[in-house]
């Protein structure tokens, strides 16, 4: 079941939270939904789920709007930061209420509790749960209907590093099952190792969408050499650009590590270090969201 967002727009009075946003998320892959805080990620997800009425535009799941799905909670699960729990309910009570409401059967409660690690604190009142536990409970609730689509808004908030690693693996497994996963984040480190595709927004507008590899741009090679000046002079051509950040350090654009090593050998230049350098997604992201202003 694919997600299709078309021309989604939300204006709160004169302030435009989301403007003419269109993107797709395909089944079987994890799509990262990236943007700085306040970019409109949460509002977009709330519109997709019918919690917030869009000013214009549509969001569909397999061609249906969320509210028109025959059995919404069995098709789409959502982990939203704005969702809470009754403080006097145990985690187990919370799951039982929504298992009933979604007609998912009480047997499913134990399954999702085991799957998400909620079993460990199922009997505790929700007001005593840590942020990480609440995130797991939210995820368990979203999974009650065994949905084909999962929307997660900043799901790693409050998770410890172990929890983040677990979630990353968990989402990949869900996607491998053929599910459609859309996961938002403002921290790229999490998405980098989870998502196959990314949708990047800023100020409510689409910046870029596509495979995550496309964000990286071209690779560079970092070279440390006592003859850096000499080597730089030999290397520069119309295709090769060389940065010289420190006297003994060069950043070479346009050559592979093999080509750099071969050039050093043929010119008799001593090298102390040669490192391929991929720009981090963070840098790519900063470039995309800040640089295009």
């Amino acid at each position: 079941m694919n997600i299709e967002v078309r021309g989604l727009t939300k204006a709160f009075g004169p302030i435009s939270a989301v403007t003419d946003l269109s993107f797709e998320a395909e089944a079987g892959v994890v799509t990262g939904f990236l943007g700085p805080n306040g970019a409109g990620k949460t509002t977009t997800m709330q519109m997709m789920l019918g919690l917030v009425t869009p000013t214009s535009g549509t969001a569909t799941f397999g061609g249906h709007r969320y509210a028109d799905l025959p059995h919404p909670s069995a098709a789409v699960g959502a982990v939203l930061d704005s969702a809470g729990f009754h403080p006097a309910h145990t985690a187990y009570d919370h799951l039982r209420v929504y298992a009933r409401m979604g007609r998912h059967g009480t047997a499913r409660v134990d399954q999702v509790a085991d799957l998400t690690g909620v079993s460990a604190f199922a009997g505790r009142l929700t007001r005593t749960l840590s942020t990480g536990m609440r995130q797991r409970l939210s995820l368990a609730t979203a999974l009650l209907g065994d949905p084909q689509v999962l929307l997660l808004d900043e799901p790693s908030n409050g998770l410890d590093p172990e929890g983040i690693a677990w979630l990353r693996e968990f989402l990949r497994e869900l996607a491998a099952d053929g599910r459609t996963i859309l996961v938002s984040s403002h921290v790229l480190g999490e998405i980098e190792h989870t998502a196959d595709h990314v949708v990047v927004i800023r100020d409510g507008r689409l910046v870029t969408a596509g495979p995550i590899a496309g964000l990286y741009g071209t690779a560079t090679v970092l070279v440390r050499s006592p003859q850096a000046d000499l080597f730089a002079a030999k290397l520069v051509t119309s295709e090769v650009r060389v940065e010289h950040p420190r006297p003994d350090l060069l950043r070479i654009h346009g050559l592979s590590t093999e080509q750099v090593a071969a050039a050093a050998a043929s010119h008799g230049v001593t090298l102390h270090e040669i490192t391929p350098e991929h720009p981090t997604l963070e840098q790519a992201f900063l470039h995309l969201t800040g640089g295009s202003r």
Partner: protein
């Protein structure tokens, strides 16, 4: 809808709200028993005794005064969705928002009836117990007393609905509780002092309640104080209908406005 009803039932029984409701019902019934034991003739100022029709009416009418308790419980039940932000998940599981409100209404009408039945049964039991204990012949036949108690129980169910409707309308739990409390404690009594408004009294919640419970002490007292004649009340079924109308109007407004708003 069955699923939504089951979910609301699970939600209600998952918290201690039902226990507080039960305790409140038992306590308000027991209060009437205590007053019966003390004897209305010993009140300051003295009221007609239990061996008179007025005495029974007055005493059971005091039970009718505790209807704001189930109203508050109804308000808590629905505004909790907003306060604890479970409204997001609820709306995701039931995107047509009026459906879960309807399920709540159904479950809490039942809960309100159970509340009223408990309070009325305890009060009735205490009344007859005191009569036996003191060797008094009650001023009204058992059938009439039972009917009065049944009317109070019904009133409590309707008030639960009213409280629920106010909660859905105002969404903010504290505001809703203050609005419901202030109305019953203050606003309506103050309104009654305005001569023109007094004519509307039969159609106000308090007046309709008085019609339903057959308790007119407050109206009579105000008539005495102001030297005017008491405004005649509606018949009991008409009073009930007026109350249900209030609840339905509040719910209709809630479905039309607050439920359509964005849930963020």
């Amino acid at each position: 809808m069955t699923a939504l009803l089951a979910a609301e039932w699970t939600r209600l029984t998952g918290t201690k709200l039902w226990l507080w409701g039960l305790l409140a019902a038992l306590a308000s019934g027991a209060l009437i028993g205590l007053l019966a034991l003390a004897g209305p003739e010993n009140f300051t100022p003295p009221m007609p005794g239990l061996d008179t029709a007025q005495g029974i009416h007055a005493l059971l009418g005091l039970l009718g005064f505790t209807v704001f308790v189930p109203a508050l419980l109804g308000t808590i039940a629905v505004s909790a969705e907003y306060r604890h932000r479970t409204i997001t998940t609820t709306t995701l599981f039931a995107p047509r928002r009026w459906t879960w409100l309807a399920a709540k209404l159904a479950i809490y009408t039942g809960a309100g009836l159970a509340y009223g039945a408990t309070a009325a049964a305890v009060a009735g039991g205490a009344l007859w117990g005191v009569a036996v204990l003191k060797g008094i012949t009650l001023g009204l036949p058992a059938v009439t007393i039972t009917a009065l108690l049944a009317r109070i129980a019904l009133t409590m169910a309707v008030y639960t609905l009213l409280g629920l409707a106010v909660g859905a309308l105002l969404r903010n739990q504290v505001t809703a509780l203050i609005a419901v409390g202030a109305y019953f404690y203050m606003i309506e009594t103050v309104l009654m002092l305005i001569p023109g408004i007094k004519l509307l009294y039969p159609y106000l919640p308090g007046g309709a309640t008085a019609a339903l419970t057959g308790f007119t002490y407050l109206a009579d007292a105000i008539a005495d104080q102001t030297g005017t004649s008491a405004t005649p009340l509606l018949s009991a079924p008409a009073g009930a209908a007026v109350l249900v109308c209030y609840a339905l109007v509040a719910i209709a407004i809630a479905v039309a406005a607050p439920l359509r708003r964005d849930i963020t």
